[in-house]
């Protein structure tokens, strides 16, 4: 099936198998491998991207469902050498260790801050509840998002 969408501001036209997952489309057709696959079942959040501004888990969406939409992946956040404040926050506050959950976690955090620019610790924890991290114990992630909240 033919699909037409915009990824990180670039128009993409592709012919894909109807069963192809959005995450495989991003990773394998567009070579945007920053979006990771952690569970294939919408449970871990590693594959989170923004679809028309909303955080979605791209492992349980089909590429054809994204037809006509605008997608932002982790690769689309920095402007040259200038990181998005959430990316900067993760670096400053040691919000990552192995980095595998990080792209999805950052996308979830961006949505959280779009909805609530000054979240409490509890609201941050709630906002990233759908994204699992096995390394950090989340505390530095909370601090990374607090860092970003002050700068957005």
């Amino acid at each position: 099936m033919k699909i037409n969408l915009k990824v990180n501001g670039v128009s993409c036209e592709s012919d894909v198998e109807p069963r192809m997952l959005l995450v495989h489309y991003l990773r394998e057709v567009l070579s945007l491998t920053g979006t990771h696959i952690g569970c294939e079942t919408t449970l871990c959040g590693a594959c989170t991207v923004l679809l028309d501004g909303a955080a979605v888990k791209s492992c349980t969406l089909l590429a054809v469902q994204a037809d006509g939409s605008e997608i932002t992946t982790i690769e689309g956040l920095a402007k040259g050498d200038e990181y998005h404040p959430v990316q900067q926050g993760f670096w400053e506050e040691h919000g990552l260790q192995c980095g595998f959950c990080t792209p999805g976690m950052i996308m979830a955090a961006i949505q959280l801050l779009q909805r609530n620019s000054n979240p409490s610790e509890e609201e941050i924890r709630h906002g990233i509840e759908g994204n699992l991290c096995r390394c950090t114990g989340y505390q530095h992630i909370v601090q990374a998002i607090q860092y970003a909240a002050k700068r957005i």
Binding site: C44, T73, L96, G99, F100, R125, L132, R134, Y138, Q139
Partner: protein
Amino acid sequence: MAVGKYVGTRTKRKEDPRLITGLSTYVDDIKLPGLLHVAIVRSVHAHARIKSVDTSAALKSPGVVAVVTGQDIGDKVGSVPCAAQIPGLKVPRHPVLAIGRVRYVGESIAAVIANDRYAAQDAAELVEVDYDPLPAVVDPLKALEPGSTPIHEEFKDNIAFSTKASSGDIDKAFRSAEIPIIKQRMINQRLIPMAMETRGVVAQYHPGDKNITLWSSSQIPHLLRTQVAVMIGLPENHVRVIVPEVGGGFGSKLNVYREEALLAYLAMKLGKPLKWIEGRRENFLTTIHGRDQVDDVEIAVKKDGTIIGLKLRVVADLGAYHQLLTPLIPGLTGAMIAGCYRFQNLTIDTVGVFTNKMATDAYRGAGRPEATYLIERVLDLVSAELKLDPVDVRMKNFVPSAQFPYNTPTGLTYDSANYQACFQKALDLVNYKQLREEQKKLRAQGKYMGIGISTYVEICAMGPSSGMPAGGWESATVRVEPTGKVTVFTGSSPHGQGQETTFSQIAADELGISFDDITVLHGDTAIVQYGIGTFGSRATAVGGTAVYMALQKIKEKGGKLAAHLLKTDSSDFNFEGGKVTHKADASKSIPFLDLVQSAYHAKSIPAGFEPGLDATAFFEPSNYTFPFGAHVAVVEIDPETGEIQFKRYVGVDDCGKVINPLTVHGQVHGGIAQGLGQALLEEAVYDENGQLITGTLMDYAIPKSTDLPWFELDRTETPSPVNPLGVKGVGEAGTIGSTPAIVNAVVDALAPFGVKHIDMPLRSEKIWRAIRAAG
């Protein structure tokens, strides 16, 4: 080693820019021309004879290149290795694809190779396996019984090994107990490591040179290379292992797995590059599990709370086959059972049994969380029995700080510690006395607050080679490039711990140059000298020390050249501020870059001086290190629902000298989270047929952001005398310290109901039932 410009300071990680932008390369991100994909057909039975494997339909499926079974491979690929050497250990054959029999759900039976991952998966569904099911051996205690069906036909029973150890006079100690012997069985449940990145392998054969390149998500690139070479029969120097970015390990990638050798062999046989990426379901079923012990303890004590003797029996469920270190893990429990305490009389019986489950092996802490959990629960059982404060009982039994180095009854020598000071700091931080007062008041109001303590010691920096199957040293090469930039090659294989940063801090301080001028490379056997890898909280204490030792060689050589260039006899120079300056005469100084260029241009070097400026060091530690700490959890339990709420979580850890407080905190946070996961949430459950019923993230609960409290951390700093950096290691500390603190807090909260012990995980339902049972 003094705090330098970088060492000891909060330094942001070098690794992060590539990780926060999505530009790093994990195994699944690797693309090669003509890459084929592999899907594995896995057993649906825990124990069965394989009557036949019909691959005909799969072979006809679109895009399929080949289907390979265990019969096809036969003995062309060697057994998956086990490094354990225990007298009488039974080591079953461990094929890369099952031959004739399967012994756990998920065991690999056939490999399907196709031109994309969807086609491979489709065809894998079409492979018909005809099974003849056999009784599954699931319960480790039943596996010990004489009538238990042997899982491996070549052995008469399911006992893989049995060891006994003792120290002091246990009979006398038990006779002199002043109160009846306290006995408790404790279950240390099976856990699933669940690194966020599953395993994955890419293999590419280069027929012209008969070389293979293997990319794998591993903690041990060099050991993996040696073992895969042996398994597939290629000379070791024809195998290159590359470990790209690794998305977490926690011990689960400290191994040699079937798929690593299988893909190497198939890539060679088919002459095509192959990729296999483990699915999450496969990860639950076929990546090693952790813990899984049934532990029985008996304790003899005096009325004042002094422990005089302890008997421990460990029954360890090893699963169906041995992975690399499977039979060695339970021994670490016995080795560390004395904890921070000075009793000398003990006996330890350890039995490892085969069951129809995935192998257990090293999972963060590996044997030590079990030991710490046992002894810290014991201290609380003793306190409860004698109605003493658990703080007092601990203080009474601690090894005094003047007694270090301290020889334990289990044959270890603790390097350095001050348990009392560290514990006191935690008690002050949490305001312990006031908490006990508050607890009294709350109890009077029908509220159930619990305070749980754990004072732990762990064995780290694995380790001297005498105690390690494949050597316990680590290697480093420091190459000062002609432009004055420095490349560090480490045999450690960091996968999230941040050693690119911490090793750069060490190198920058030692050479007196900028942190930004250092690059740390690791994880490629064609680039890095032989190394051991990252596990057992060893990377900084052993690998970092190797870097430090190589730097000393550079400075020694550089000093000789500087003496020649500056016309002085002494080669005693400081490397500081980008300059190399004579220690006694500051007027004799040369920019670091000029010195480096002199070494490479070699136009004015002393006679016999080797040009260039690089050095390699292999550091062999003289002992393990023994970090320690004190964790205090404060919880409140809702008696109506059994729900636990954290009120405080305080940890004071001592990992010796700290290179980077930021990453040390990160390690402790993550460790506490995993320890909390075991205490409250996680449990791998196999049903009576050997089916893993917690085989998805829906059923196996790893901690979410909302499950965790705010960690209030502090530290004491007792340098280790074992290495010149004074560092001890911190990767596993949180996992070891947190579990007993949390369980002790919950049991303490439930004391008014007469609850003395509950087995983990302490889910609300279990707590609710314990409260109801107490009436």
